[in-house]
Symmetry: C2
Subunit: 217 residues, 2 copies
């Protein structure tokens, strides 16, 4: 039974399901049960079935789930078939890493422009895109009705860039700067990739393990 309001926890698990299913498909596996998935992913079969059931009925009693069907469903739920446009603001090493290695197409995004402020970068070609002058990305965004901006700019520019993006009508921001953007008043959707938050979690778990090990010795 489709649910109206889906919890954030469920959403955050979907991409992982998808990666797992892609892997199965790659290995030539065409069907899978919730219990098999659970065993391999470290989740309960119940949770997996509950998660899927938020969006519809994708399985078959006595059989399980067809890998390809399920992949397609999850992909659609996640908006992968929407074909959205993206621009990247900041062509430093991180920006280049994304431009060169991240498969935007695979996830339904098309990278249509890249912006930077450095005079020696503007005009150069980076992974197939000529870098534009970052002092005026607003026009491009509103004219081309760009869906999302990828912010790979230095921290100090983050607030002002975010404000400009919101004003230009961007719909979402994929934020790699290590701060909270402070545009929660706008209806721009912000998805943060906070490297330091991630490293600090790792650091915490390392400390836990050290304490545990001490106790055991």
């Amino acid at each position: 039974m489709k649910k109206d309001r889906i919890s954030i926890n469920v959403i955050r698990r979907l991409p992982r399901y998808l990666r797992y299913l892609d892997d199965l498909a790659y290995k030539g596996v065409s069907r899978v049960s919730s219990s098999e998935m659970g065993k391999q992913m470290g989740l309960t079969a119940s949770q997996i079935r509950q998660d899927f059931s938020c969006f519809g009925e994708f399985g078959q009693q006595g059989y399980g789930y067809n890998v390809d069907t399920l992949r397609r469903h999850i992909g659609t739920i996640l908006g992968m078939s929407e074909l959205r446009s993206a621009v990247i603001i900041g062509v430093g090493n991180l920006g280049r890493a994304l431009m060169g290695n991240f498969d935007f197409d695979k996830y339904g995004f098309s990278l249509v422009a890249a912006f930077d402020l450095a005079p020696n970068v503007i005009g150069t070609e980076v992974f197939g895109l000529v870098v534009r002058d970052g002092s005026n990305f607003e026009n491009f965004i509103s004219e081309h009705d760009v869906d999302i901006a990828i912010m790979t700019v230095p921290k100090r520019n983050a607030h002002s860039v975010a404000k400009k993006l919101a004003a230009a009508g961007i719909k979402g921001i994929w934020n790699f700067t290590n701060i909270d953007l402070g545009i929660s008043d706008s209806d721009v959707i912000v998805e943060n990739v906070h490297f330091s938050d991630s490293l600090l979690s790792l650091s915490y778990f390392l400390s836990c393990q050290e304490n545990d090990t001490e106790g055991k010795n």
Copy 2:
């Protein structure tokens, strides 16, 4: 009252508290109440007090929390005062982005070596480190008792690199490859930064908003 087992949700909020407190300190604010924090961070005051109380008593009735004291406490909880060693495996654009822009020291980590497989990269100096031959990082890791490895290698190498790291006695892996490493049998702590998972969440929320807006028009 200190708690024994802390939930993952609490841990994941701590780095954000820390960033907020750093910001306050930077602005010269020396005290803050849970309700003020809650208002600004979009959390309930209750939750903030509950979170802190997992680790001890850091506030004062009628006054609130001293910003500097609280920062120090949270930093310590997260292991920031431990001084751990890190190596980076894979000196591509992403590796360089981290080497050049990420302030490892600030979080208690020291980047002691960088490895890559490309002959034209090995031996070159990148942000103060001479890149070592990535075909033999195991010796270095076990000899220097390295704490964590940062994996910024191509997907196809991820599994084998992870296995070698585990065998060499690494304690944690900060994983930037877009896959689950499959070393859950070892006691290596893995912290994933899955770019695609993040983008797909953003994609989902964009789709939600589109549907909402349609409804309203």
